[in-house]
């Protein structure tokens, strides 16, 4: 089950999706048991920005029949706060640390890359480009040119692996991935959440979410993630971290078979903090995909 990813030796292919597992808070809730049976083979932090952020006003959540919409708004302590308070605690985790970062200009991203690239507690960096470039106004991650320019600006600042996290709210994630590869990315990850909106249950003329719109995740996006992963895998030879609606082993298996090297579990961790470990176990060679296939596909046809 062990796997190599950008020079990291990982015990199994299942990591967490950024922003869906807070190892520090989880340790407050579960204690050192978290370190003893850490559910993921690497830990991906929630997005860190240069300046601290409060995040969006509540309500921040809306539940779907098979998923959710969130408008969390990337709350975080900012670079300084993260280095001072979070990094030391995350360094205590039994797995490699991948820090997810976002900047609103390429200079901001360069600052973050520089700062985290210099810390040996950090194994790799994931660039969350699902935000507008405040200078060009373009949604960075949706535009191959923006991503190319961003990588040209930040690549020189570190030798650590750079993972570009692709947005599905985009005409061609494959082209964006190709631009990332051409300009020095070490890997890509996808999918981030899809833009979604929810009317207020009492007053449909108002938005329910404090952030106006939000991001859709969970089983409802699974088939979309698989299609986009296929598109991206056809365009690049970089290692890929696949994610989107994974809650069982076969969902991860499908992403791996479509070209992913690692699979991230996100929303499912909200339903079970050990979801990552469960998905990894269901990937074990012993378990046949057929056990999950519809019965009618397992029974041999009649005479």
């Amino acid at each position: 089950m062990s796997v190599e990813f950008c020079g990291l030796e990982l015990a199994h292919p299942i990591v967490n999706a950024s922003g869906t597992f807070d190892a520090i808070a989880a340790r407050r809730a579960f204690g050192d048991a978290l370190l003893e049976q850490f559910p993921f083979s690497a830990f991906v932090s929630k997005t860190v920005t240069v300046a601290p952020r409060q995040g969006n006003p509540p309500p921040r959540l809306w539940e779907l029949g098979a998923g959710m919409v969130n408008s969390i708004g990337l709350p975080n302590k900012g670079l300084e706060g993260y280095l001072a308070h979070d990094l030391p605690e995350l360094a205590a985790l039994p797995v490699p640390l991948i820090v997810n970062i976002m900047g609103f200009t390429s200079e901001e991203v360069a600052t973050l890359v520089e700062a985290f690239g210099a810390r040996e507690e950090v194994a790799a960096l994931e660039l969350n480009v699902s935000c507008p470039n405040v200078k060009t106004g373009m949604l960075m991650g949706a535009d191959p040119g923006e991503v190319a320019g961003l990588l040209d600006a930040v690549r020189p600042h570190t030798h650590k692996p750079l993972i570009v996290k692709l947005t599905p709210n985009c005409t061609s994630p494959g082209e964006v991935a190709a631009a990332a590869e051409a300009h020095g990315a070490d890997a890509v990850s996808l999918i981030n959440t899809l833009r979604g909106a929810v009317a207020h249950p009492r007053d449909p003329t108002r938005a329910w979410l404090g952030g106006g719109t939000g991001g859709v995740s969970g089983p409802a996006v699974r088939v979309l993630a698989l299609a986009l992963l296929g598109e991206v895998a056809a365009r690049v030879s970089l290692p890929i971290v696949g994610m989107g609606g994974v809650s069982r082993g076969p969902h991860a298996r499908a992403l791996l078979d479509a070209g992913a090297t690692l699979v991230a579990v996100g929303t499912e961790s909200f339903r079970d903090p050990l979801a990552g470990a469960r998905v990894a176990a269901e990937l074990a060679p012993g378990i046949a995909i057929a056990e999950f296939a519809p019965k009618c596909l397992q029974t041999s046809p009649l005479p």
Partner: protein, 264 residues
Amino acid sequence: MIADRTLAPLGRRRADVVAAERFGAYVVVSAADPDRPAPDPGQFYMLAAVERWGGGDDERPFLPRAFSVMRRHADGRLDFMLEAVGPGTERLAELGPGDGLWLLGPLGRGFAPPRDGRRPLLVGGGVGTAPLAIWSDALEDQLVLLGFRDAEHAAGAALIDGARVATDDGSVGHQGLVTDLLSAELGRDAHAEVYACGPPPMLEAVRALCAEAGVPAQLALESGMACGYGACFGCVVPTRTGYVRLCVDGPVLDAAELDEVTHP
């Protein structure tokens, strides 16, 4: 690190429902959770039915739901008090002995003991009765004041011995708001610490009353939760120091931390 709370076993666990009893508008669901840590009063659990969690054809629930623990018995049995207000609570209210229940908990931070010899005043509304029940069991000389909509809901008062009751329609106890009873009590003797749980408008009224009377209060709040253990940042409430995640920094907050108790 020394924990400021009773820790939860890592991972959701499957428990058997051993009883489900009606109290008017409420159901008390009991689950067997032997050999697990006893929760602190005010802590909560994330619950989901093992079978039929979600009605298909795009119906919720999908995520687990948060419930204050109402009591824990010596054999590890946990009681939860719930009112069916939507798909999740409706499904949980259907459960009977032998049905499976996913449990995660105990979670969050519970109530702190009264400061400098103040007498505990417990003030609840509706399902807010639940955390006050387990807290009341742990206290002495406490006074419990409960507010309900009507007689059907007031049946929930039976869950705490000696509770005094107010109802909107006067069908049981004092006609009016539970905060009427509270202000009378504070008028009589303000050397008290107030513990309150209930709907936001009630909690806001309690907060304002106590602030005015200079009485310390601990409020058990609610907010929509996806995970219950700090993973999603979805359950924040605004405090004087900014947004805090109710599931890890609460659900019990000191009233002094709040400008106001809000709701969507």
